[in-house]
Amino acid sequence: MKALEVKNLSAFYGKIQVLWDVSFEVEEGEFVTIIGANGAGKTTLLKSISGLISNKKGTVTAFGKSIEQLSAAKIVRSHIGHVPEGRQLFHLMTVLENLESGADYLPHAKREAAKTKAYVYSLFPRLKEREKQLAGTLSGGERQMLAIGRALMTKPKLLLVDEPSLGLAPALTKTVFQALKTINQEGVTIVLVEQNVLQSLKAAQRAYVLENGEVVKSAEASSLLNDPEIQAAYLAI
């Protein structure tokens, strides 16, 4: 089954159109990346899929179920997690409370909350050390880990990840990408949008290139690494 099928998706901010007939597919278990320059529409694309944007046209099907009409709160119940741009954490709550809130409102996630939390801590031992600390006082890397952790607590089968490398030192970026790979290997389908093209092409199996709100290319991630156009535009080789 396909984890995600996006067909002719257009999205708008007011009257301004930002996505133009975007279509792409993700097989269950895949790790797909969508790369594109700043302003290409990557964040808008993920927000349209997860229901944060409702002003859109086209269809979005996840695990065979049509979700483009649903609210964000319903879409997370369809096993789609979103690690959003800007992390969107609860800054006056502790790390632990942020994690728990990921599972609290979803019965299927709540039942396994203790297990998932242990898993998140095994991925990011740093979060366990900071368990009692307020999210607002964490460093950029820790916030990113927490945002991923909170999304995992919702028990997603498909995880949408928005620029996890933004503002992180290279070493931390590596940790975060490694964690995403591990999560994928445990069976979670991943859609990663990134400006950090080199890292994401290395982590993903397949890639789409988004330019000015349109998909202009799709290929195996490894072949894009050797694509002269991509190298010139995004890899600065």
């Binding site: 959003p84 609860f90 990921g102 919702t154």
Partner: protein, 288 residues
């Protein structure tokens, strides 16, 4: 200085702070969770007062009993107003929101004037209204004491809900980050509805007490809106935990000026706003 008078002023201030906290905490909840500045808050308070009055006149309900009717009634009124108007202006400019809530307040006030007229009404002939205790020259009325205790009990209950229950955590989550809240499965609009309705219910409960403590008219609401605003600003906009302390501070100042300053009773409202001016100026200087 007359020590007894001073003690009396302090005691009256403490007792008044409970009701102030109860009314202000509802306003802070609406501001903190929904981000809506509700100028009709005092009118919810007024409606609570007149419902209690009507329940007393029509059915002989004791005000304490009325608390259990007024709270759900105001909860429903708040929910209806949220659904029919507030939810549509959440993304509108703040000025538009204020104008809307101000208008709602005027409508409620005028409806009350039509129904109950402009004369002061009060639940005067409950037997315990005149009971008071003398402690070393200082007098404590049973009604102010009971209203203080009930108010503090309700405010403590709200704190418990906010800090210790899933619903409370959901409200805090929505208050701190709407996007994050919807991504963990919360229907943000539903939480807003609950917060607004709860806010109205809290104001209504305060109204029941004012109907016994004073003899309110349908225009009593606006003064309480302003007082609640003053307290909310003092506590820090949307800071619910700070409400108790801020209420105590302004109630004490008000009461001390009223008892110790000659003709101080007419300065009550001025004291409130003098405090607010000082706080706002000091705060903005600190930030600058």
């Amino acid at each position: 200085m007359d020590l007894t008078l001073l003690l009396q002023g302090i005691l009256s201030g403490i007792l008044a702070s409970g009701l102030y906290a109860l009314v202000s905490v509802g306003l802070a909840l609406a501001i903190g969770v929904i981000g809506i500045v509700n100028f009709a808050h005092g009118e919810f308070f007024m409606v609570g007062a007149f419902l209690a009055y009507q329940l007393f006149i029509s059915f002989g309900f004791d005000p304490v009993l009325s608390l259990f009717f007024v709270a759900p009634a105001l909860f429903i009124l708040g929910a209806l107003i949220y659904r029919s108007s507030i939810q549509f202006v959440l993304k509108a400019p703040e000025l538009n929101q204020m104008l809307l809530t101000f208008g709602i307040g005027i409508i409620l006030q005028n409806l009350a004037l039509v129904i109950w007229g402009g004369d002061p009404r009060s639940i005067s002939n409950v037997p315990y209204r005149s009971i008071g205790y003398q402690v070393g020259g200082v007098s404590i009325g049973l009604v102010p004491l009971a209203s203080f205790l009930i108010s503090i009990f309700i405010v403590a209950g709200l704190y418990f809900v906010l800090l210790k229950t899933p619903l409370g955590r959901a409200m805090r989550a929505v208050a701190q980050n709407r996007t994050g809240a919807s991504l963990v499965g919360l229907e943000v609009n539903r939480i807003y509805l609950l917060a607004f309705a709860l806010s109205a219910a809290l104001a209504g409960l305060g109204g029941v007490m004012i109907a016994v403590i004073q003899s309110p008219t349908p225009v009593v609401g606006f003064a309480f809106t302003l007082k609640a605003f003053a307290i909310v600003v003092l506590a820090g906009l949307g800071n619910i935990r700070g409400i108790l302390g801020a209420s105590l501070l302004v109630a004490l100042a008000e009461s001390l000026v009223a008892t110790l300053v000659p003709d101080g009773d007419s300065l009550r409202n001025a004291v409130f706003f003098a405090i607010i001016f000082v706080v706002l100026i000091v705060r903005s200087r600190r930030q600058a």
